[in-house]
Amino acid sequence: MADLEPEPNSGLDAAEAGAPAASSPLTHSSAPAHDDEPDVRFTYANERTFLAWNRTALALIATGVAATQLLPRLQVEWGRRLLGLPLIALGAVVAAESLRQWRENQRAMRRGEPLPRSRMPLILTIGIVAIGALAAALAALGSP
């Protein structure tokens, strides 16, 4: 993964190196070359996307922990844990996947390739729907 490591001050270097308007950090060599530094705006956007997914992961983790603590005792033994632990696990998956997604996006941008399709929305949707269905089932059973 050494090719993914940006050079120090990578965004500024790319702008200052061979761009027609050398004073602008936005300019970038127009022809997509192999492993070229992408436009800094795209790097920023990729960074914000990573952070947004990471915040989603943190929210899932916090919700899972809160569910095990704040919900009343349920009819089913381990009912609160049945809700909380999958939420925490889903948060961990989202966190790990967000790093992989950031790397792949960064690599694709440097090589001028199309961005890879993200699996994150599918993972998150399936996970939340499954946990929601589980919560509905536990609610139907009622509390003691």
Binding site: F50, L58, I61, T68, L99
Partner: protein, 108 residues
Amino acid sequence: MTTPLEEPEAGLAGERTALAWNRSGLAVVVCVAVLVRHAWPLHGAEHEVALGLIAGAVIVWCVVLAVLTLSRGTPGSYVPRGAAVFRLVTAGTLLLAFVGFVAALAAP
């Protein structure tokens, strides 16, 4: 008559990204607070420890942000982070997930 802006988004994109880092820091603090609340029920003398941990999370996040910003580029500017920072953030989130998992399992 307005002057067309050729490159209007450079500074704004950096600013939005800096704000995103700050929101992430707040999310970390909230997550730590929930975990701490879980471990210490905030009654008796132990709440000082819990509040100290939450304050510690805030301070650590501020110091990390300041060091990262000041060490790369001029003060006030913002440059994209390196891969090591993303790995560190992900590792921190996974650590919080592990602690949360253990805390949820240990819950009465």
